[in-house]
Assembly symmetry: C2
Homo-oligomer: 228 residues x 2
């Protein structure tokens, strides 16, 4: 996995950035350090000026890569979903049994990124925390429909659809495959958030718990069991 991903580039909608941050050292530093800074001070307090100071570069230089911090957030979250999608496809591709395939998919999609993921300049563990805390803000805006039209959410949508398809493959008669898929993806972020800030609102306290919870939920919804 690590090796492979050294050669794979997550394909992100080119309209999200002005200049591809993957193409230069400064660009990579912007992405790399923005993850750290957003994680530290939160997206609201995050500014390009602060990021510039942190990376010893200039505010105006960062503006040459991203139009504004919202676009940067779209970039980071797109990257994350693209990375998850890649892991999902990679892990489920060879599985033919629908239930096993779905179970594997759910595991990947609901578990917190925790292990060896140092295969690029991006810290996926931190990035997953940013996604938990900030992803909603990328679409809960007055500009959603325009942004959606521009294709800023394609990767996420594709991911939901992949999951939805896998759900339908287990039970073609199930009436809500897309809703269930989107509930799992969104709900998983939410349960991880609750774990950290509203422990009384969740039962997922141990590692792996959101995964167990969602696997049970999904397979019960489909009136079957996770194991063939």
């Amino acid at each position: 996995m690590e090796r492979l991903l050294k050669f794979v580039k997550i394909g992100i909608n080119e309209k999200i950035y002005i200049k591809d941050p993957e193409s230069t050292t400064l660009g990579k530093r912007i992405v790399e350090e923005s993850i750290l800074l957003i994680q530290e001070i939160g997206f609201e307090a995050f500014t390009f000026k602060k990021l510039g100071q942190r990376i010893g570069s200039n505010e105006s230089s960062i503006y040459r890569y991203f139009e504004n911090k919202h676009k940067l957030l779209l970039y980071l979250t797109s990257w994350y979903w693209g990375w998850l999608e890649y892991k999902l496809v990679f892990a489920t591709n060879s599985i033919t049994e629908p239930r096993e395939k779905l179970r594997t998919a759910l595991t990947i999609v609901t578990q917190a990124a925790e292990v060896d993921s140092n295969f690029s300049h991006i810290d996926e563990v931190l990035l997953s925390k940013i996604v938990i805390n900030e992803y909603s803000k990328s679409y809960l805006t007055k500009e959603v429909d325009a942004d959606n039209k521009e294709g800023y959410f394609v990767i996420y949508k594709r991911l939901v659809n992949r999951l939805s398809t896998m759900i339908a493959a287990v039970d073609a008669a199930y009436k809500y495959p897309s809703s269930l898929a989107s509930t799992v993806l969104e709900g998983s972020l939410h349960q991880h958030f609750l774990k950290d800030h509203f422990a009384s609102l969740t039962d997922c306290h141990e590692k792996g718990d959101p995964t167990d919870y969602f696997i049970e939920l999904v397979f019960n919804a489909l009136n079957t069991t996770p194991n063939g």
Copy 2:
């Protein structure tokens, strides 16, 4: 219901406001019109200055009621959850059969506020839309833990717990009552949002659909049916 609520005041944590907006005409106008304005231009673009202009009042006067717009959002969303809680308790109080009770609760909690709710200066239909679009922003902040400690989310937490208790009453052996309850509340907002902006990510296109989806989901999770 309408009549009753004329006499009931939603009890909101007094630390959320500086001066109780319910206590004066200006206060009520602030609440009333902020709902309209936030719905129109979104929470990001919303400012006290614009609100002041709209209600023919002054920015500084609004600051005497709310410390900042974040507190106002906390107020509005607390009000909404308090209102929902009231409806929930009112509708389920007399029901003894656990499954029927849960089904009724799920209906109230997942359906979009749509009907006759003109019993106060607050437009609940609009407010529910604000909750759908903005609620996450009230807790996805760096100050969540502090805000939570101050008790700014008590009503929401109590609502999740009520639902969780009803779930446990149907199946005491179910391992994730709180997670399921929080998934339903959050997930319901999300499905309503998807309906409006990402139709391909949901199957809930008709009125009542999120409700049907969640009722089926919950009762399947509990390995039983909605009807006694």
